[in-house]
Amino acid sequence: MGSSNTGAKDDSATTSDGGNSSGEDLPASNSATYSDGEKVLAYHGPRIYEAKIQKTEFTKKEWRYFVHYLGWNKNWDEWVGTHRLMKYTEENIMKQQALEKKQGTDKSSKSGRTNQAKPKTSTDGKVEKEELKNYVSKGKKRKIDSIVEDNVSTGKVVKILIPSTLKKQLIEDFEFVNQQDKLVKLPRSPSIDDILAKYHEYRLKKDTMTADSVGEILKGLRCYFDKALPVLLLYKKERQQYQEFVVDNISPSAIYGAEHLLRLFVKLPELLAYVNIEEDTLVHLQQKLLDFLKYLHKNQNAFFLSDYDGSKGHEGSSRGKDD
């Protein structure tokens, strides 16, 4: 299979499939490059997969194709643009193989035909486990992509309304570090672990029914904080301090305090976009997060520093007061 194209171009060209002679990847105004039922090669993530066009649609001046990836569960069928597709030709199949080699996968793909080791049956729980392993090592990225895309396009992004006093806290925090060259004095007391524990206790007293839910959310916040701190939550000037304090297996949540926890709330919608949460559950979650923020606000004086430490040295290790 695969028609050979003359010329240097190896993307879709003037071949019989699809019946349109637009040539380049750019479709002419009303003619689709690919047609229903056509077998194609589709980019997804870093790889190319065999796929089949299920539907075509012309919206907003471009053609879109609903593809099914051959050998993969139909849950992964998706709409793609022309730029993601290629004609099923020998040249393009070779591209596919080249990419696989580059990825260094364990798939064997001697011929250009079948290259997915994944089993097609997925009817019971046990096989699901096997599929999952394949998915986890190869295709998982696409599932995450569709989760995030879904959430963002349907506006299903958790809204964190930060109380205005805490907004002021964030602005001050910014100024201390970036304009006044100060740092939060570490280790903090209360630490984030302390604060989360106190809040849990407080909620337990108010309402034992939701204790488990609250507990899980707090664990989630702690987990996010520990992972996200060095990646998303530090100002440049704080990185050295981080290197000095978070050594061995110390959790950041044991060292840092409310100042940095509050920054997590700024990033929380982004992080939660990777989780597909039901709408009504999302509303509950929002309420619980807001309740936590109100608790921070209520205890602002006890939890937050009113001033940061300005005694650090300029370059090299900080020569400030060490504990």
């Binding site: 999952l132 392993k133 998982k140 990225k141 488990d212 987990c223 509950h284």
Partner: protein, 124 residues
């Protein structure tokens, strides 16, 4: 097995929850039937909350989502442990590989910055 204990509780509660009452009175093997229903609902839930996310940094929020789904389905509380036990029938979480996607996000270090909305007046 702890799972069975939970169902006894559930049956005991059935007087208070009208939706549970018909189930326990109608079947001759209430415990087994409930277990099947639990599993079915869990599998439904997993269409929304994919199991692989129970391995990564989002796992607590995913678990929370599962707890909420089951709570709504059966009109009773589910603990995280209970949900994990149910999951254990279908997925060996220990064997699952960690989230590759997560590793990628976490490799892109960015300096923190405040969004514009922080500087704006509150709407509410």
């Amino acid at each position: 097995m702890e799972g069975v204990k939970k169902e006894e509780e559930q049956d005991g509660v059935s007087v208070h929850s009208p939706c549970n009452a018909p189930r326990s009175s109608a079947s001759s093997l209430p415990k087994e039937q409930s277990q099947v229903e639990l599993e079915i609902k869990l599998l439904e839930a997993l269409e929304i909350y994919p199991p692989f996310q129970l391995k990564g940094m989002h796992r607590h929020f995913v678990l929370y989502g599962l707890m909420e789904y089951l709570r709504k389905s059966f009109d009773r509380h589910f603990s995280p442990d209970e949900v994990l036990q149910l999951l254990d029938r279908f997925y060996n979480l220990e064997m699952m590989k960690p989230d590759d996607e997560e590793i990628e996000i976490l490799n892109q270090e960015k300096d923190f910055s405040l969004p514009q909305s922080i500087f704006e007046k509150d709407e509410a």
